[in-house]
């Protein structure tokens, strides 16, 4: 077996892939062959590195050099300079935005410094399509340990002791969930992996499946062993073709190596996994809806009880956990509950993966210990707000979460502190906003999503969210009244109190939390008919600064509403009279502003 001296790791995650990372791989192969280096340098397609902001990412090992935004044509330089001559290619290195210096080693990048990677431990490190790489990282040893050294009860006890909680949203203790399912006797039970990530802007589950599918297979088998199930099902979004492919490859490799199938590792334990495809319904993240969808029904949630642990898929006891939760399980077993327990806060143990997005310098996927503050995430890992603007709010938990403000920046984040602050962990979306974001408009954006994704089964969600959305539309259109604000709050609270499932119960959070934290902004929209962020078009006025206007008339020609007229005023130094916008006729399309070459038009 050839022993490679150097490894080139290239991100094959969906993000980097869509910006040509596969071509880069192809280029590397070609150039290495040309230089006769194919036996010395190995090219590995990995899962997501997380630093999607700067993709495609290429990492050179062993010197741990981290190249960002690599293009296929850069491959030659990397080979000729770095691989052959040992000189790093400086312009492809990551530039620290603070001191503008190149950073070559990911260890020294702020983006990675504060991260602790448990669930993402193998993402960006191993070739997800090669089970041997996974095994050499200790993969399946957790399963081995369970099967040969532990009873099912001990496994559950270990998971319980670790304090691991569900990473999909509500944070239900994983060990307890397993125990409930284990207690129910049945001829058949199911382990279900929820990979129906539907939260707009959250993609950690996809990254884990793409980067480390074996950890999920291993964890599901561990769960199966502990609850007495021999069948596993992964409910995965059909929109994740790459994750599906990788998972399929991983499953067949695991079967081939005897890590799935009958008599796993000589223990007498049988377990196998099948895939089921989601078809685009956010509500199917809710476990009862997910189960109905797997059974070939409309993905409508049903009341609990009965819980899936009692009557789940096909009426059999079933345990549903999401991808990230499962990804933690093998580590809990191999490193032990005690080790895991030390990470995090009192009630939230371990780490959480967040998809960092919005007006922030480093967009990407991060994994941090519970208890980290928002400040650390936003300013250290995230590299601060884009364009040096002011931080305004951060939205966590996607459509089910709320908006937190500067006063929450130093809160240690975990499941409970986020709920106390009016938001929630959710699946881990984290959208950072600056002063250019309008909070009522943000609330409306999320409500529109909820309305689109509501299953329509219960009244509060079907009609209530629609009405919430309509009231928000009224407010952002400048037609709102103070009574509307009262109604927003009352209706939001009723929906929270009466909706059938988790999606409905949490759907008013974006409204309620912005009402709490940005009340003034709502009042401005309603009373002053003003949008300070300049987002709500109907509340904006375009004005021409007569001192700056040279009177070229370009704005007038491009105005669809013919609302721009020439005045009599000629500013000092100009030859032509300035233009003026007739506000009453203005459609607020912004065409004039785009046409003005002199920056004379602004929004007030």
């Amino acid at each position: 077996m050839a022993k490679y001296k150097m490894h080139i790791l290239i991100c094959g995650g969906t993000g980097c892939k869509s910006s040509n990372s596969l071509d880069i791989i192809e280029q590397f192969h070609q150039i290495l062959a040309e230089k006769n280096l194919q036996d010395e340098v190995q090219v590995i397609k990995t899962g997501c590195f997380g630093f999607c902001e700067r993709g495609p990412i290429v990492k050179i090992m062993p010197d741990n050099t981290f190249y960002t935004q690599v293009k296929p044509e850069d491959a030659r330089r990397i080979v000729e300079e770095h691989i052959i001559k040992g000189r790093k290619v400086p312009d492809l290195l990551y530039t620290d935005p603070e001191n503008e210096q190149h950073v070559s080693d990911s260890k020294h990048m702020n983006f990675y410094k504060k991260q602790l990677r448990i669930a993402l431990r193998n993402c960006g490190f191993v070739d997800p399509e090669n089970i041997e790489e996974c095994i050499s990282r200790g993969g399946y040893e957790g399963l081995g340990k369970c099967l040969s050294e532990m009873t099912p009860e001990q496994v559950i006890a270990e998971v319980k002791a670790s304090g691991l909680r569900g990473r999909g949203g509500a944070g239900f203790p994983t060990g307890l969930k397993w125990e409930l399912c284990a207690k129910n006797k049945a001829d058949q039970k199911y382990v279900i992996c929820n990979a129906d990530e539907g939260d707009p802007g959250a993609f950690m589950d996809r990254s884990i499946l793409e980067g480390d599918p074996h950890s999920i297979i291993e964890a599901m088998a561990i769960c199966g062993y502990s609850i007495g199930a021999t069948k596993g099902l992964v409910y995965i979004r059909a929109e994740y073709p790459l994750a599906i492919d990788r998972l399929k490859i991983a499953i067949s490799q695991a079967r081939e190596y005897g890590l799935l199938g009958t008599d796993i590792l000589g223990s007498g334990f049988d377990f196998d996994i099948e895939l089921r495809y989601g078809a685009g319904a956010f509500v199917c993240g809710e476990e009862t809806a997910l189960i109905h969808s797997m059974e070939g029904q409309r993905g409508e949630p049903t009341l609990k009880p009965p819980f899936p642990a009692v009557s789940g898929y096909m009426g059999k006891p079933s345990n549903v956990n999401n991808v990230e939760t499962f990804a933690n399980v093998p580590v809990v077993i191999t490193k032990g509950a005690e080790w895991f327990n030390k990470i995090g806060t009192e009630k939230s143990k371990g780490t959480k993966v967040f998809a960092l997005a919005g007006q922030i310098n480093n967009v990407g996927l991060i994994e941090v210990p519970m208890g980290i503050t928002l400040r650390e995430i936003i300013y250290e890992i995230g590299g601060g707000i884009k364009n040096g603007r002011q931080f305004k709010a951060v939205q966590t938990g996607g459509p089910s979460g709320g908006c937190l403000t500067a006063k929450h920046l130093d809160t240690a984040i975990d499941y409970d502190s986020l709920v106390a602050a009016g938001s929630m962990m959710g699946s881990g979306g984290m959208v950072v906003m600056d002063e250019t974001s309008c909070m009522p408009a943000i609330a409306k954006f999320y409500l529109e999503f909820t309305c689109e994704e509501s299953c329509g089964k219960c009244t509060p969600c079907r009609v209530g969210n629609k009405r919430l959305c309509e009231i928000l539309e009224k407010i952002t259109d400048g037609r709102g009244t103070m009574e509307d604000l009262t109604e927003l709050r009352n209706l939001g609270n009723v929906i929270k109190d009466t909706a059938l499932c988790g999606l409905g119960q949490t759907s008013p959070n974006p409204v309620l939390s912005t009402l709490d934290n940005f009340w003034d902004e709502y009042v401005e929209h309603v009373v002053d008919k003003k949008c300070r962020a300049g987002v709500c078009k109907k509340l904006m006025n375009y004005v021409i600064d007569p001192e700056k206007c040279i009177g070229c008339g370009k704005c007038q020609k491009g105005c669809p509403a013919e609302c721009i007229v020439r005045t009599d005023y000629i500013a000092p130094g100009h030859k032509l009279a300035s233009m003026r916008i007739t506000t009453e006729k203005c459609l607020k399309c912004g065409a004039c502003m785009g046409n003005c070459k002199f920056g004379a038009i602004s929004v007030k």
Binding site: K5, H7, P62, D63, S136, G138, E149, L265, G266
Partner: protein, 131 residues
């Protein structure tokens, strides 16, 4: 492929496979390893650095030294090629010049394993960029 039959099998397999990943494993925790940087610019290669590096990697393996080898550019000691820098955990890096296979063995057995200094040390006169 034969199936993995037991946890012991799995662990044995891991042992066997692990070295393939060493390059990456070690890169993740370089501070706990012996880091050996071989200057491999044109002059170094011309002076036989590549062969020395290959030899040294094999030797380190034989001796069971947890070392990570990286290639680096010209260190500026063209007069003493092949040159390499050795950083033993907890110690300052030392640069050796005129390294051939024998000297390489010596560096490993004497300096790395026993802490004895060997001939050919070049005084370092600059800071490494990526410290």
């Amino acid at each position: 492929m034969t199936k993995v039959k037991s946890l012991a099998d799995l662990k044995a397999m891991r042992e066997k496979l692990q070295s393939n990943l060493d390059v990456r494993e070690k890169a993740e925790h370089p501070e706990s390893l012996v880091q050996i940087k071989v200057a491999m610019a044109t002059c170094g290669i011309a002076a036989g650095a590549k062969k020395v590096m290959e030899h040294m990697m094999q030797k380190a393996d034989e001796l069971g030294i947890p070392a990570v080898f990286t290639q680096t550019g010209c260190m500026g000691y063209c007069h003493a090629e092949p040159t390499l820098e050795v950083r033993v955990p907890g110690k300052d890096p030392i640069v050796f010049g005129h390294v051939d296979n024998d000297r390489a063995d010596e560096i490993l057995t004497k300096y790395v394993q026993n802490g004895e200094l060997v001939e050919g040390i070049i005084p370092v006169n600059y800071e490494v960029i990526d410290k």
